[in-house]
Amino acid sequence: MNGTNLLDIRDLRVSPRGMTETAILRGVTFSVAPGETLAVVGESGCGKSMASLAVMGLLPPGLERRSGDILFRGEPLPVDDNTAMRKVRGRRIGMVFQEPMAALNPVYTIGHQVAEVILEHEDISAAEARLRVVELLREVGLPSPDRIIDEYPHRLSGGQRQRVVIAMALACKPDLLIADEPTTALDVTVQAQIMRLLKRAQNELGIAIILITHNLGLVAQMADRVVVMYAGHKVEEASVQTLFASPQHPYTQGLLRATPRPGRRRAGGKPLEEIPGMVPAITDPPSGCRFRPRCPRATRECETVHPAVRQVGDTIVACHHPGRLEAVQ
């Protein structure tokens, strides 16, 4: 951790209010450097969205941050101070969520909603803001922006709505964009367009991106570094090259093998490799390592001692028995 990081999350713990025993995030640490893309990967319930909501100070009402620091450019983010956070959200950190329709207000025009972000943070006239909005809509690749600006969200397709949400997120040229499953609700051809748009925005504005996703294809295409999460823990962190070439944690290896790979049809046997069992309930986690009940390498040690995060080669991994798996097909 040093002063060059844009975002530092240190030992973040998030729990349901009043429940000291259960935790959604159990001490998660990672950082984002300026201009890089960090992918946060994991299956539903692993806590990947909660980490980003905690950064924005937008944890759902029933949850609270128990401990841990969130630093932005080396300074603590005032995540518990909503007034102070309003100056950060949209200005320093932009957000794009999974459901563009849920992020847009159905009763206001596109132009009104994008301009609102600009007017919140910058002292310019409504007319100037409108010109900026038209320009932004053009930049995110929407056809005839001077017409779309006066449309309502329901008149746009899902991909167009997500472009509008991206325009809002980029309106004040933030340093960091948090994209939480930004294309999960979209068709794959539209997904490719949105991802190219994010890449282009990153190159032009030099913004850093946290891409939260379960899609390892997107991770491979977009990310510089990857954090893999399981049941509220970071289980592995590595550069994208290292992670795909030599995953260390059995869960990462399982995820990679369970991902369908086109053009590599398996001869005979089952169509896909599976990870047996399922993600444990947060209210009833297994002792020791959370992945133990599903892990082929589990030993007595894994039952009793929770594995600490440690460095193995170029990888940070939380496992008693890390190691490369020879046949990731």
Partner: protein, 277 residues
């Protein structure tokens, strides 16, 4: 021997406030016994409407659907009933497709009750066998759907679909709502059950990578038409239609050494702003 399913020049359209939407435009295909045919397309291409037409849940405009040599399209509900046992379906959302107020044993037994299969005791036995077969513990039979995870609920849905020993199961995006690791479990389960139950799957999905390893043949659907049909591996290696090529290029490959593709664009007829129809 006649094909298991034969769909001939099927048309289906809806009247909407913005005019007539021609959802299925002259679709023809055949499926053999024990075959898995994947129907792949993007949202709004008509793949689910086509499935509903085959199941008799949607009125068709013209064309025929033949199951096992018998015409099943254009029948009244009463006439269709005996055929329903032969074609079952598994839906996308295991949360909304199971009645939350019914116990698992009831949910799986219901098709047997409706079709009057066997005695009460026999049906109970069948339910427990089915639960075991799809990887659910039989002692969970008194539980309600909310007590199960998404993957387990999909197993309940599969057991229910298998109860009547159908010849065809239409699976409409059965794993789209599930996590990657669970998705693989369900695909493998369907694959194993196919051998034991000698059932054919019409597998509807938007995810071409998923069916590459699973289906025998793949049909690509675009704007209400099947634009390409081929063997699963062939389609991927040697796509013929421009839309198939666009689709394949847009899929992000889980390998950081493969550069991002998807620069190809295909005429998007679904742009809605200012759209007239």
């Amino acid at each position: 021997m006649s094909p298991l399913l034969k769909v001939s020049d099927l048309h289906c359209s809806f009247d909407t406030t913005r005019g007539k939407v021609h959802a299925v435009r002259g679709v023809s295909f055949e499926m053999q016994r024990g075959e898995t045919l994947a129907l792949v397309g993007e949202s709004g291409c008509g793949k689910t409407t086509l499935a509903r037409c085959i199941l008799g849940l949607q009125k068709i405009e013209s064309g025929d659907v033949m199951l096992d040599g018998q015409t099943v399209s254009g029948l009244s509900r009463r006439q269709l009933r005996p055929h329903r046992a032969a074609m079952q379906c598994v839906f996308q959302d295991p949360f909304s497709s199971l009645n939350p107020r019914k116990r698992v044993e009831t949910l799986i037994r219901e098709p047997l009750d409706l079709h009057g299969v066997g005695t009460v005791a026999e049906r109970r036995k069948t339910v427990l066998e089915l639960m075991e077969r799809v990887g659910l513990r039989p002692d969970w039979s008194r539980r309600f759907p909310h007590e199960f995870s998404g993957g387990q609920r999909q197993r309940i849905g599969i057991a229910r679909a298998l109860a009547l020993r159908p010849k065809l199961i239409i699976c409409d995006e059965p794993v789209s709502a599930l996590d990657v690791s669970v998705q693989a479990q369900i695909i493998n389960l369907l694959y194993e059950l196919q051998r034991d139950f000698e059932v054919s799957y019409l597998f509807i999905t938007h995810d071409l990578t998923l069916v590459e390893n699973f289906a025998d043949r793949v049909a690509i659907m675009y704007l209400g038409q099947i634009v390409e049909v081929g063997k699963a591996g062939e389609i991927w290696r040697n796509p013929q239609h421009e839309f198939t090529r666009t689709l394949i290029e847009a899929i992000p490959v889980a390998d950081p050494n493969v550069p991002m593709r998807g620069t190809r664009t295909f005429c998007d007829a679904r742009v809605t702003v200012g759209g007239s129809s």
